[in-house]
């Protein structure tokens, strides 16, 4: 294809937007509505996922070292924990530090515990974080087997339930997003199909004048692309504005440290890009698939 023909196809594609103004409005309307839905839902799901990640990040394993262990043995326990592949960080906390944090966590009443400073009954401890929070249970099991480890603590019941719940939430979200995108594709390509059906005669005439299939297809390709892009403008503006206000407002949720939204920058831009991409792809796909039917003259 010569470059000037490529230019010609682009020009024709944009002209078609004007030539079929009512059909254009219908198609852009369908794209706008569905992309707005998809976009809002995507933002919601990704933020829920983010909250779940935050919760999981907070999960840590506390390894209590046996009281009888001497300094060398304590160090050996630390080394062995570090040797486990999936372990991210290992912090040592002496029994004095443990007592301090216990006293601090008690607030006013903590004073009573200060008596124990003379004869500290607490264990020296290692605080372990895993690279992937999902590995917590497995690693805790391995640490338990190490010599001189008295007990391993990671809020067993709560963590297990949390992971289970998050997994369900993620899977359901994924299914919903797929269902929504699929509906969007179906709706948009159907609208575009109707607009092109009205032009099946035109396609037949073009073929009789000696146009090859690709010569006919290209302007439709451009038209579909433009419809998708034009249709994604409004959803992007609405979602960006909405997210900006949500991100900058303080709500009751702010008192929970893990309930944070993904930062406007870069998340909102990524979301905008994704919507643009989905819009363009669906537009092109819808129009090219519809033309295919009428090319057999």
């Amino acid at each position: 294809m010569k470059f000037r023909t490529f230019k010609r196809h682009f020009r024709e594609g944009s002209k078609n937007i004007w030539r079929n103004s009512w059909m254009t409005i219908a198609s852009i309307g369908a794209v706008t509505t569905t992309l707005l839905l998809v976009g809002a839902f995507l933002a919601l799901m990704l933020n829920l996922n983010h909250v779940a990640d935050n919760l999981e990040e907070d999960v840590q394993i506390k390894v209590l070292v046996d009281l009888t262990a001497d300094d060398k043995e304590i160090e050996a326990v630390g080394e062995q924990i570090k040797d486990i592949a999936e372990v991210d960080t290992v912090d040592f906390s002496t029994k004095e530090e443990e007592l301090r944090s216990l006293v601090d966590s008690m607030g006013e009443e903590g004073g009573a515990w200060e008596l124990y400073e003379q004869d500290n009954p607490l264990n020296n401890a290692y605080i372990v974080k895993t690279t992937d929070p999902q590995d917590t249970m497995k690693i805790a099991g391995e640490i338990e087997k190490i010599d001189k480890v008295e007990k391993v603590n990671y809020g067993q019941d709560v963590v297990q339930n949390l992971f289970q719940f998050n997994e369900y939430a993620r899977n359901i979200g994924l299914v919903l997003i797929f269902a929504l995108v699929f509906t969007a594709i179906f709706l948009i390509s159907n609208t575009i199909k109707i607009t092109i059906m009205a032009r099946s005669k035109e396609i037949g005439i073009m073929k009789l004048v000696g146009a090859t299939n690709w010569f006919i297809r290209w302007p439709f390709f451009v038209e579909g692309l433009l419809l998708g892009v034009l249709g994604s403008i409004l959803p992007i503006i609405i979602l960006l504005t909405g997210y900006y206000y949500l991100d900058n407002s303080t709500t009751a949720l702010d008192q929970f440290s893990f309930m944070t939204l993904l930062d406007f920058h870069p998340f909102a831009w990524q979301l905008a890009g994704l919507i643009l991409l989905i819009g363009a792809a669906i537009g092109v796909w819808g129009s090219v698939m519809s033309v295919r039917k009428f090319l057999k003259v």
């Binding site: 023909t5 030539r19 005439i205 009789l208 004048v209 000696g210 090859t212």
Partner: protein, 228 residues
Amino acid sequence: MIVMQDIYKTYANGVTALNGINVNIDQGEFVYVVGPSGAGKSTFIKLIFQEVKPTKGSIMVNDKDLTTLKSKHIPFLRRDIGVVYQDFKLLPKFTVYENIAFALEVLEESPRNIRRRVMEVLDQVGLKNKARFIPDELSGGEQQRVSIARAIVNHPKLLIADEPTGNLDPETSWEIMRVLESINATGTTILMATHSKEIVNTIKKRVIAIEDGLIVRDEHRGEYGYEI
């Protein structure tokens, strides 16, 4: 130019349109195709630019054997043949200029050549001042002249007209015939299916009559030969 040998055509619904056609048309001829409705005139004409494929037999057009022509090469065959229809078949959303230019854009001509050549044919069919109109804003005769302009814009050796005056009043029909004659005068072969007794009997040319899928008459400077 056109050579048909033993052409048979039966449509998928069982209707037999052509029953063994043999014909030879030379470069530069002007040929009328006449006959009652449903006799096979349209099928005969559609075979030449491959809107219809024969069930049996061989066709050569412009020294190309259409029986072995692959479907992806059909567009290139059509570029050598101009076609004019009874219902004009213009692109409704395109201007007169764009309709004619389309036939050249298909050939990937340069924009400058397209401009020059489109204005030339518009002048030839007398529509230079209507270039920016869309088909709906024109009269039937004017629309037919646009479709003729589109058919001849790329200098085809063969122009096929399927009842080009069928939807036009007598006066406009004569106008169209004058345009077609002037195109024939430049050496373009013209094949025209028609129901117009007046035209065939006044502008005397070769007449091929088709009845029941067979050529029943083929005479130079012939008569229409049917009552209405």
